[in-house]
Symmetry: C2
Subunit: 215 residues, 2 copies
């Protein structure tokens, strides 16, 4: 019954960027960043979540489906929660996702600036954690009730957890697109030295799925 | 009848390294670097070149085969030619490949240190070029007799030619292996800004083949 810490469906470009440059309200994943998630949109599980029929039911769908299974809490970096930098000017920013975010569980946002919890529709409660990645993980584990904790991203957040060797499993999906610049996931990160190895890989027409685990 | 400049079958790790750390006589591609070429060894074309029967005749083989077709001259970085750094102590180093290197055409080695041409068995002649990448390319084009020029590597050499927008086509093969450190091909290289885009991609069990071209 041990709780795992997982990165799932994290999109990367061919040149290794997990987000494009110039994040803004219009471009949550940076310029060009949405293309990295293009493999998800045709899947059955994505379409179903958005009230559509049909969709792909092969490998991409299975990987997308797995990413939601058994998750009891999420951890997000501040920039994944929104484009607001520095102290919160007010409480008006409630994430990119509208009234009902896709998390449906307690979700811990790493920030240097305190803010009271934010309860959304559908079970998502955003908790703002100001005392670091390990404190956030401890809170997320407690909130997950025996289920797994998913580290959503972005790149800087995932790198911090990897360097602390706190990730048990990381699934990245490499899209057939170039970003040219942005945040590089592997730059300066020595995965083998940190004890990680490739444990699974499978390619589809739309993405190359890589799964890393502790060796 | 224009001569193209091509990078072919350049091996990369999942984390984007084109060579492992600590190149030496024992590890021409750096520690762990040979794993990046593991997809080539089972191919029919490789086995045939090494006097063996059989071998894989699918996508990997086709990509390996293409890489030798229509090449009239090669360009290599100094470190791809050997582990010797600085001025040549003597003329005893003749490349990694023994008496009969696999080039069979004029091969231009970029170096800061002059050395007279070196004629090997099977048609390979190493020419040492001390006046930069453009001079080397001009000489290679002339020597290629209307055929294409292949830039062999390593990473620093390919990056220089890409930054100068002198590569027409680049095929990289990503192996399912992690190196952790080494020379990163994409680091600091903005391919879209340089006018390159992905023109083809296909994955096999042993490699993901990516082809980049000018947009």
């Amino acid at each position: 019954m041990s709780t795992k810490v997982r990165v799932m469906c994290f999109g990367l470009s061919l040149d290794g960027f997990g987000a494009g440059p110039d994040q803004s309200l219009e471009n949550p994943l940076g310029v060009g960043g949405l293309e990295m998630m293009a493999w998800v949109f045709p899947t059955h599980v994505w379409r179903e979540q958005h009230g559509e029929d049909g969709g792909e039911t092969g490998t991409d769908n299975r990987m997308a489906e797995r990413s939601f299974e058994g998750i009891g809490a999420w951890i997000l970096g501040r920039n994944m929660f929104g484009p607001v930098r520095g102290p919160w000017p007010d409480e008006s920013w409630k994430g990119w996702w509208g009234d009902e975010p896709p998390y449906h569980v307690p979700t811990f946002v790493l920030t240097h600036h305190a803010r009271k919890p934010l309860e959304m529709k559908g079970g998502t409660v955003f908790h703002f954690v100001t005392d670091g990645i390990e404190a956030a993980l401890q809170k997320a584990r407690e909130a997950a009730g025996g289920k797994d904790v998913r580290v959503g991203g972005g790149v800087a957040t995932i790198q911090q957890y990897l360097r602390a060797r706190l990730i048990d499993e990381m699934h990245v999906a490499i899209a057939p697109t170039l970003l040219g610049s942005g945040e590089s996931l592997f730059a300066g990160l020595d995965l083998p030295s940190l004890g990680y190895k490739l444990t699974d890989h499978v390619a589809t027409a739309n993405a190359t799925h890589l799964v890393f685990g502790t060796a």
